[in-house]
Subunit: 201 residues, 3 copies
Amino acid sequence: MSIEILPDLLGVFFFAVSGSLLAGRKGFDLIGSLLLGSLVGLGGGVVRDLVLGQSPAAFSTPVYLVAPVLAALLVYFLYSSVERIGRLLTVFDAAGLALFCITGTAKALDSGMNPVASVLLGVTTAVGGGLLRDVVANEVPRLFSSHDIYAIPAFLGAALTVLCSLNGVLNLGTGIVIAVLVFSFRLLAWHFRWHAPLAVW
Amino acid sequence: MSIEILPDLLGVFFFAVSGSLLAGRKGFDLIGSLLLGSLVGLGGGVVRDLVLGQSPAAFSTPVYLVAPVLAALLVYFLYSSVERIGRLLTVFDAAGLALFCITGTAKALDSGMNPVASVLLGVTTAVGGGLLRDVVANEVPRLFSSHDIYAIPAFLGAALTVLCSLNGVLNLGTGIVIAVLVFSFRLLAWHFRWHAPLAVW
Amino acid sequence: MSIEILPDLLGVFFFAVSGSLLAGRKGFDLIGSLLLGSLVGLGGGVVRDLVLGQSPAAFSTPVYLVAPVLAALLVYFLYSSVERIGRLLTVFDAAGLALFCITGTAKALDSGMNPVASVLLGVTTAVGGGLLRDVVANEVPRLFSSHDIYAIPAFLGAALTVLCSLNGVLNLGTGIVIAVLVFSFRLLAWHFRWHAPLAVW
């Protein structure tokens, strides 16, 4: 648990920053920033834990609440303008995505889920918070954007996590490698506008 | 279980097609089509199973994941244009509605819920996926459209399912009759623009 | 239970009225009014009960369904125009907020949650229904509005509920005092446009 909680907390923090940045761009106030950050950072994990039939970590482990508070304060004090928020939001969002696809999948495997369902739940955890963020703030969800690739890196990370776990080599080292891979893949896809074929050709 | 899983899978498939069609119309990519189809097809059932305190079937029974994949591929290969997507979307949505109001209600009754709550959960299952679809894709939910009737056919199907079940005559035959009734009612309401009175007169 | 269910039911009714009023303003029909009212009135409590690992009260206790029906009928028969709906919506929304931040927190404490998590779940219950209402109806959530203060009264009410409960003085009398405080705070904040600093300064 103690090994897993740190990357999960980091993921919450990164996603919460992305929520607070969006709150800044939309003209929300400081409380709205805290709430949107909490929803983004904790929302995906709450859905994950409910599906696993467990008490959501965000409620049972109060330390999780520190991350959105830090995120809202960081955004409040460090960004005096709303310029370049889009770029930063994408970077923090990618960092959260990279961590959550691993921790979500690992938690599902730990709870005895089959490998296929674990990948699915890992991807759900990773993309869920960002989807909530964009829907609640009335933006087109970047998950569905056809300009770049968002879900495939998360899927890849979840699949690699299952592979490593099945082969008994899921540890801090391989976890970091997977996270860096997912993070780089997502940011490269965003920067070079790699994209998938459209839904209808 | 084996009797129930087929209509439920068919319902997932029909709703997933409606999601993928909407993804096509909104210009989402193939991955977005798969994800929106999964959300629509599986979302209502996940909420149903969480309310019932069960492990969501979409995760515990991996075969459920086949339906959205088939739906996304079907939409990708068969529709080379986005014309007439609105009409097709309505037909597939109605088919999903007809099946889910029955399977959702039957699963609630099987789990020992009282009849009134079973009807409510059946309606929630039936309209939930489509509501998620429209909200996530930033459309006005057709559930709330005042141009035609959407929830009443689902309510009727759920109520008939409870009645049949209480009288011990809920089987494949009566199930098909109820599904055809709900499907026809919904499409007739859509075609002839039957509508309910407004919320405020 | 019997002591707690009445304020909870009242909260459901107030929120359901706010949903039906919004349905009226958006031109939804009577069924849409009932459904939106149900979603707003019951949604926050369903999330609360799922997090607590309990069967959602809205399903296990059918009397909960009476409140949205009454709300939809009330709005249908009493408001023949859509004028001044905004003001009424805010008042009923504030009443629901005041009751739910108390009942949500009390239920969390009863279920053995720690005080910090109980406050969080109380606030989630109180703001959840209204957030669902605004998201589903495609409005900017008033939770995030920077024109006035929405979440702080709910947070204050939840914190006072925990304080009273820890000191063994949570009863009908103190509950009413807290509810009146939260209700007045919210309406004063709305009327005088008290607001928090923006997310980004």
